[in-house]
Structure formats: C-alpha cells, structure tokens
C-alpha cells in the first residue's frame, strides 16, 4: 500500500504530459478516424466526410 503511494508520487508532470498527449492522439484516432469513418463508410455505405 505504502509502496503504491510512493510510486504514485514519483510520477512527474513531464511524464503526465507525455502520456496525456499520447492519450489525446489515441482518442482522436479512435473517435474521429475509427468510429466515425468505419461506422459511416464501410458499415453504412454513406459518404464521410460528405463532399
């Protein structure tokens, strides 16, 4: 328990920013590219983005 708390304290702000950026990119890819595109174009045969 104490060990875990210690580990948590060791995480620096830089590490958090890097991980946060990774997550932001991952979320962008997942939602914008994967969900939106896959569920519109191959799944429903609808144009996305609409031109």
């Amino acid at each position: 328990m104490g060990e875990a708390e210690e580990t948590a304290e060791k995480v620096g702000i830089g590490q958090k920013i890097v991980f946060g950026l990774m997550m932001a990119v991952a979320a962008g890819v997942y939602y914008i590219v994967f969900l939106n595109w896959v569920l519109m174009v191959p799944a429903q045969n609808l144009p996305y983005p609409y031109k």
Partner: protein
C-alpha cells in the same frame, strides 16, 4: 448440508419434477403439426384437383423479387360495421375501456416478466459470492427471494387483468378479436399452454427456494435451472404477445385481403417484430427495476429499525442499478425501432416524428429527461452515505447543468402550435433561433450527452468512498479523462456536422454518436472498476443513511417509467390511425379518430394512477407477510431456512 437431511428421496423427487417440467416445456412445440393441418384444411377448402388458391403476401418477397405466394388458408379480413361488430358499455368510449384494460395488463405483465430476470441475476451473484463469502452470498440470495415474493402477488393480479382484457375484447371488439384469433390460431394454444406452464414453474421456483437452498451446491444450481426455465417461458410468452401488436402495426404473412397464407412464421416475423421485441424486453427490465426500487424505497421509508433501513436502502440501490442497466441501451433500441418503422412505411415514421403524433414525442422526451436527471440525482444523494464523496461533490452542479441544458435541447419542438397572428409575428411555424434545436441532430446530441453524463456520475459514485491504490492510477485517470472528453467532443462535433449535410447522410451519424457513448460505458466503467482493485475504503458505505429525498427520487423514477410506458404505448398504437390492422382491417368504429393530446395525457395519467394504486396493495401484502416472519436476524450463512424479508 441441511438440504440433505432426507437424503436420496428428496433428490430423486426433485429430479423427477425437473424432468417432468423439462418435458412439459417441450410439449407445446412437439406433437402438433399445425401447418400440416392448415394446409390440409386449405386444400379441402380450395376443392378438387385445381389445388389451393394462391395469393400474394403483402410484405414478403421471393428470391426473384416478386411477392411471395402462399396458399389461401383463412377467411379475408371482415369489413367491420358499427354497431354490429362493436360493443358498447354505457356511454363510455369502448376504445378507452380497452385501452385501460390493455395498459393495466401490460404493466403487471411487464413487471412479472422483468422481476424473474433480476431474480435470476441476483441468485447467480449470490451463488458466485457464496464461495468466497457465504454471508454476502446469502444476502444476495435473500434479496432475490424477496424480489420474487413481490412478483408472486403481482402474478395473480396479472392473470386476473388478462381475464378482464379478454372479456373486454370479446364484449367491445368481437369482430376484430375474431379476425386476430383466426390469424394466430396455429399458435394460440401454445400461448395458453405456456401460460399454465409458467404458473407451475413459478410456484415451484418460489416455494422450492428454501428447500433447494444449499448455498452453492447442486440443489442451488437445480433451482437456478428452474429459474432459467421460468425466464425462458416468460420471454417466449412476451414475444408471442408482442407478435400480435407487431402484426397489427406491420402485417405480413397475409394477402391484401387479409387472408392467412399458411405460413405462421411469416405472420409472426413481421417487419417490425424484432425491434419491438428487443425494445420491449429492455423496457420491461427498466420498468421492473424501477418498480422494485420503489418498493424497496417504500419499505425503507416505513422501516422501523436501522437494520431494516440498511437492508432496503441496499435493495433499492441494487434494483435501481439493474433498471438503469436496461435503461441505458433503451434509447438506442428505440432509435432502431424508429429506423425500421421508416424503412417499413416512411409515412408512418413521419406521422410519428414529424406529423400528427410528433408532440407525443415531446411528452416522451420530457419523461426520458426526467428519468436521467432523477437517476443522477439519486446517485448524488446516495453518495451522501459514502464518506469521501465530498471530493466529487463540486462536480454535481456542473453535471446537473449539462443535464439541464441537454434536457432543454431535447424538449425543444421543431414547430409550435400557434395562432395566425403569432405565426405571422414569428415569420413561420419554426422559431428562427429555438427551432434549430428541434431537429434530430440536436436531440441525438442531447440524449447521448445525457447518457454519457450518467455514466460519469456512476463512475464518481463507484469511487466515492474509495482511495485508489493501483500504481497506474494516474494513467487510468488520464485515460478516463480523454475517453470522456473525446467522446463528448465527438458527440458534439457529429451533432453540429449534421446540420451541414443531407438528411440521408445525417441519419447515419447517429451510429458513431451512439458508439461514442457506448465506448464510455463499456470501456470507462470496466477501467474504473479495475482501478478500484486493491483500493482502501475511507469508510464503509453507511447503508440506511440515505436521504429521504433520495428515496423519494426513486418513486419519481418508477412513476416516470410507468408514464413513459403509457405514453409510448399509446403512440405506437395510435400510429395505425384508422386501422385495426394496418392497411388490412379498417377500424369502422366511432372511435377511429386520433385522440387530442390532453385526453391521451389524462388517460395515461389515469392508467399510471390505477397501476400504482394496485401496486401499493401488492406492496402492502408483501409487507404484511414479512411481518409474520421471525424478527431475528440469522447470522452467518444459514441455509435451508425461511428468510425474513426485513433482515440480511
């Protein structure tokens, strides 16, 4: 254990009973070859060597794209004449009388079919937990047993109301009822037999509870098998009843004159049958959860001892949780149903959502918004019994703000009912600003936001009294933040994007929107649960310390479920307009018009009040029998004993 007190004899007896029930459940399906009989009758009717008369199905198509042809196997739909084919009772509108008896039967029917589903889950949870913690396992088992007790009383009421409904049909709508019975004749007997079987299995399940309770042994699994059977029969019964309403709305398996074409499956499997069934199963489960939560809330408020209060507080939470679990996918199932309605008859969809009945959807939106706000409010109140919730309390006002903004958007009508002067002043039926929020792009965004927010509240609830200890907690938190923020940005983006593209593409946007919401639910909640592994509690949950207003919120939740069911049932039924069976059997009674909104609202409210009055009687009966139970709380993993309802 205690169950083995009489050893083999009981085991053999129970096994025989189980085998008998297993055979009975197969009985309706096995020996009667109805289609053969029908074909025979059709062949005889068509006379001599020319063979049976063939006719085209109104819906089904063959492989070549031509209408499917089947042998004419029944009489055409009659042309009903008033007053010959309609009955009246005093000066009452026959339709309203039938409406009320239908709705009451449906309420109780839904309740008694939903509760065994919960009971099944609770019993399973009890068995699984029993291995590690017999006391906790028994607690869930007692809960399941108590839920079943409420259902048992309600079951009798359901049967009585079913009888009332049949008599109402026979007395007031004999022509229509005769036609529908002739179409569904091949399966009517199955319904009746299953109903008898359901009663038998229900009583064995309930009364065998204590006798078969050996914790997590073979007997318990045997009991769960009976529960599985009970649910299977219940679902089949419900599906069968749903096929009748689905047939009325979107008939198939008959020709344009309404003659049965010999294939009962085509009559059952109508274009709207599957989405209606799915929507109703989920709806029943949500409604059942709401009613049980209200029952527990009622017992919580009237409890005399802290133990009782704690038990019913816990029970109301579990029931609410189960109900919400079904509530969350419900809008999506509803959306699917609407899509299928549009695909079946576009005009029907427009009548529902953009025409005559569109305002009923505004009523529904009010109720759905009430449901989600109430759930969130309840969870926030419930956090009050969890020390440590103060950390998350500042978020409540923002969550509520998001819910209120979403609700306002969700309720905004596309067009308003106005006087000509008002219409002129505004420059059209659509308001230049507010009107923009009356379209599906805004409404889909609103409901998805509300669901996502509810998931977030639940995650906060899970964490309320917990100090997370996993080393990767910071990663988990960041992941959850981006998961939710990303989902909400995507939901908003798709909502706005929908304004700039044609309707046929816009409708497709709802799929990724829903997927974003579901991602939060199916990824966010498991990740959060994983994070809680090995966590320490700031203090245990103080069951029984629920605020009174939180308990009342559950009443609101249950009544909102009931009212939503009434209003949406009315909507689905009214969309047939002047048809008993859409485009097949015309309603020639004086009550074939569409009700004004006010009248429909009043009858729905009357139905809700009637149901709750009867339900209070059921609750009271359950509480009465609980009083007779021994007051002592049995500690430890007592098995094979009657469980006092007020203990755990």
């Amino acid at each position: 254990m205690s169950i083995t007190r009489n050893g083999k004899k009981e085991k053999i007896g129970a096994m025989l009973l189980l085998s008998m029930m297993a055979m009975l459940i197969l009985l309706p399906f096995a020996p009667i070859n109805v289609s053969a009989q029908e074909e025979e009758a059709a062949a005889e009717g068509a006379e001599e060597a020319t063979g049976p008369e063939m006719a085209k199905d109104v819906f089904y198509w063959d492989a070549n794209g031509d209408p499917w042809e089947g042998p004419v196997s029944g009489p055409p739909a009659p042309e009903l004449v008033y007053p010959d084919n309609y009955g009246t009772y005093g000066n009452f509108q026959s339709r309203t009388l039938l409406w009320i008896s239908n709705q009451q039967h449906l309420y109780f029917g839904s309740f008694v079919l939903a509760v065994p589903m919960f009971v099944w889950v609770m019993e399973l949870v009890g068995v699984v937990l029993y291995r590690k913690d017999p006391k906790l396992g028994k607690k869930f088992d007692d809960l399941a047993h108590e839920m079943m007790k409420i259902s048992l009383t309600a079951y009798s009421v359901t049967a009585i109301l079913g009888g009332v409904l049949i008599f109402t049909f026979l007395a007031l709508y004999p022509g229509f009822f005769g036609y529908l019975s002739s179409i569904f004749k091949p399966v009517m007997h199955i319904y009746a037999l299953l109903f008898i079987l359901e009663s038998g299995v229900l009583y064995v399940f309930y009364y065998g509870w204590d006798a078969m309770n050996d914790g997590c042994g073979d007997w318990k699994y045997g009991h769960m098998a009976i529960g599985t059977m009970l649910n299977a029969i219940g679902i089949v019964l419900m599906v069968m009843a749903n096929t009748w309403v689905a047939f009325m709305q979107s008939p198939s398996g008959v020709d344009a004159q309404g003659r049965f074409l010999g294939d009962i499956w085509k009559v059952i499997h109508t274009p709207l049958m599957v989405p209606i069934v799915i929507h109703r199963i989920l709806g029943n489960a949500a409604f059942g959860g709401g009613v049980v939560a209200a029952y527990a809330s009622f017992r919580f408020l009237s409890a005399k001892t802290p133990e009782e209060k704690a038990h019913y507080d816990w029970m109301s939470y579990i029931a609410m949780f189960m109900g919400v679990l079904a509530l969350i996918p419900l809008p999506f199932a509803g959306y699917w149903l609407m899509r299928e309605i549009y695909a079946y008859r576009q005009q029907m969809g427009i009548t529902l959502m953009g025409g005559l009945l569109a305002w009923v959807f505004i009523m529904q939106a009010t109720m759905i918004a009430t449901l989600f706000i109430t759930v969130n409010y309840y969870l926030m109140q419930a956090m009050g019994r969890m020390p440590g919730y103060e950390r998350y309390a500042p978020a409540f006002k923002w969550i509520l703000a998001i819910l209120v903004i979403s609700t306002i958007s969700w309720l905004t009508p596309h067009t308003l009912v106005m006087t000509p002067a008002e219409l002129k002043a505004m420059g059209g039926a659509q308001h230049p600003v507010v009107g923009n929020y009356g379209v599906m792009s805004a409404k889909n965004t609103a409901i998805n936001t509300m669901i996502t927010t509810t998931v977030l509240t639940f995650i906060l609830y899970q964490r309320s009294n917990i100090n997370i200890k996993v080393p990767w907690a910071w990663k988990g938190n960041l992941f959850l933040i981006f998961l939710f923020v990303g989902a909400e940005i995507n939901i908003l983006f798709l909502g706005i994007y929908g304004y700039y593209i044609p309707a046929n593409v816009r409708i497709g946007l709802s799929v990724p929107q829903v997927a974003s919401t579901l991602t939060c639910l199916f990824v966010g909640v498991p990740v959060n649960t994983k994070m809680l592994k090995g966590a320490t509690q700031i203090a245990p949950i103080r069951w029984g310390k629920m605020s009174v207003r939180g308990a009342y919120a559950l009443f609101l939740l249950a009544v909102a479920f009931t009212w939503t069911m009434a209003v949406m049932g009315y909507l689905r039924s009214s969309v047939r307009l002047h048809w008993h069976v859409n485009e097949i059997l015309r309603d020639n009674s004086p009550w074939a018009f569409t009700n004004p909104l006010g009248y429909a609202g009043n009858i729905n409210s009357l139905n809700v009040m009637l149901f709750w009055t009867m339900l209070l009687f059921v609750f009271w009966l359950s509480a009465l029998s609980a009083k007779k139970a021994p007051a002592s709380v049995e500690e430890g993993a007592g098995v094979g004993k009657a469980v006092p309802a007020g203990s755990h």
